[in-house]
């Protein structure tokens, strides 16, 4: 019973993925191992580092703290869904332009967290932005450039929106 397999369909970046997994398969592992979406990175696997952040129904969550079976019927977005037709989106461009990454390991998690911030609170205060970013760990950049990149993306998107 306990090693029973579960057939489920995940909706990832708008596409249906039918997979067969054990109940103990985390969403993070299912994305990488069963769906081939290796953009989501696993850091600590116990909810501390935020590297595996994905969006579930628009809200950032840690994919290592969810089982794949729990994500059925929910809209999951991963870093693979950001670029359109090979072109980086404004947030991704802002990360490159503001040196918001070095080794890149934490970047997918920060991009998804940043996406949620831009979508729900584009005018976020500096203080609240620092607080929001404190949920994810980066050992290269010192965070200042990540905050700058998200701010730059917000500015770029509001200019685009106004144009």
């Amino acid at each position: 019973m306990s090693d029973a397999m579960h057939d489920l369909t995940l909706t990832l970046n708008g596409q249906a993925h039918a997979i067969r997994v054990e109940a103990r398969r985390t969403l993070a592992d299912a994305l990488r191992e069963d769906c081939g979406l290796t953009g989501t990175h696993l850091g600590c696997e116990h909810g501390v580092c935020g590297a595996c952040t994905v969006l579930m129904d628009g809200q950032p969550v840690r994919a290592c703290l969810l089982f794949a079976v729990q994500a059925e019927g929910r809209a999951i977005r991963t870093v693979e869904g950001l670029a359109k037709g090979g072109a980086l989106n404004p947030l991704q461009r802002a990360f490159a332009e503001n040196h918001a990454l070095q080794c890149g390991y934490c970047t997918p998690g920060f991009l998804m967290l940043g996406t949620a911030i831009l979508e729900t609170d584009p005018g976020i205060s500096d203080e609240a932005l620092v607080e929001a970013l404190s949920s994810n760990l980066c050992r290269c950049t010192g965070y200042a450039n990540i905050a700058r990149a998200i701010r730059a993306a917000a500015d770029a998107m509001s200019t685009e929106g106004a144009a």
């Binding site: 019973m1 306990s2 090693d3 029973a4 579960h6 054990e22 109940a23 103990r24 985390t26 592992d29 696997e45 116990h46 909810g47 935020g50 952040t53 579930m56 809200q59 950032p60 969550v61 840690r62 290592c64 703290l65 969810l66 089982f67 079976v69 729990q70 967290l113 607080e131 929001a132 404190s134 949920s135």
Partner: protein, 286 residues
């Protein structure tokens, strides 16, 4: 890291959950998963059965009824933090929630999960204790009510029988003229608190009519400072009164762990209690 294998159960009703709890051995309830999942991933916990509460009907919601706010056990921490009713009527709860993990974890974490996990430094446990919460516990025999003060029976051990579950929490709304404050010290915002203090003061004129002081993180469970509370009642909300009440923390029993020795926790307790008292008094006076 992978959890040990378990059988997954995905019930839709409280009755189904209770049936499963009554019939399965070594079963755990999965609420928001923000504490249990790390424990599973690290194999600190290895249940044979996991009963997922996330699709169970009737366990969420925030309602004001008869002088209390009733919160369903599976209500997400972020929904509570952003609730207008909570911000207006129980700001202590909203203030404490801003210290609970991070946005991602509060999107999943639940009030019932945090209370039942009963981590010594859990902010929600301290606030529930400060506000004299009443817990609704359901088992096959029906619903019983339990005071938060009778809930912890040991380190991370709630007074729940194996076939019981927490379904809701009721928090009495303090009377007009009250002020609350939550202070904590953690090495980084969002980390487990080394010590936290939850304070409620009710002022009548220039006197303190009621005081509630709770420390989190100092021992195996939340610590109500009854002696200090008694010292405050009847006194004026002054620096001297608050200093004397906070000085009571010098005598509390505090734990030592790799994060901080007992003497440091006692010092922190005094400072955080005094700060929380001052803030609560200022808010009550507005």
């Amino acid at each position: 890291m992978k959890p040990a294998p378990f059988a997954y159960h995905d019930p839709r009703s409280i009755e189904e959950v209770l049936d499963l709890l009554a019939s399965l051995d070594n079963a755990r309830l999965l609420a928001g998963g923000q504490s249990l999942m790390p424990m599973l991933n690290m194999r600190v916990a290895f249940p044979d059965h996991l009963i997922d509460l996330n699709r169970v009907e009737g366990l969420t919601g925030i309602m004001e009824e008869g002088g209390s706010i009733r919160i369903g056990a599976m209500t997400r921490q972020r929904d509570i933090e952003e609730s207008e009713v909570i911000r207006a009527r129980l700001p202590l709860l909203a203030e404490a929630l801003s210290h609970v993990g991070h946005r991602q974890t509060r999107n999943r974490g639940t009030i019932g999960g945090s209370l039942c996990n009963l981590d010594p430094s859990a902010e929600l446990v301290a606030v529930a204790t400060a506000l004299d919460a009443v817990l609704e516990v359901q088992g096959s025999a029906g619903i019983r009510e339990l005071s938060i003060h009778d809930f912890p029976v040991g380190f991370m051990t709630p007074a729940l029988a194996p076939e019981e579950m927490l379904t809701a929490i009721r928090l009495p709304v303090p009377p007009a003229g009250h002020g609350t404050a939550f202070t904590e010290f953690a090495r980084r915002h969002g980390d487990y608190a080394i010590v936290s203090a939850a304070v409620l003061l009710v002022l009548e004129g220039s006197r303190i009519a009621r005081a509630s002081l709770t420390l989190g993180g100092v021992g195996a469970g939340p610590l109500r400072l009854r002696t200090a509370e008694a010292m405050l009642v009847g006194g004026a909300p002054s620096e001297a009164t608050f200093g004397a009440a906070a000085a009571e923390c010098a005598g509390i029993e505090a734990m030592s762990d790799p994060q901080a020795p007992a003497w440091y926790r006692r010092r922190l307790s005094a400072v955080l209690t005094r700060r929380a008292l001052e803030t609560a008094a200022a808010r009550a006076a507005v």
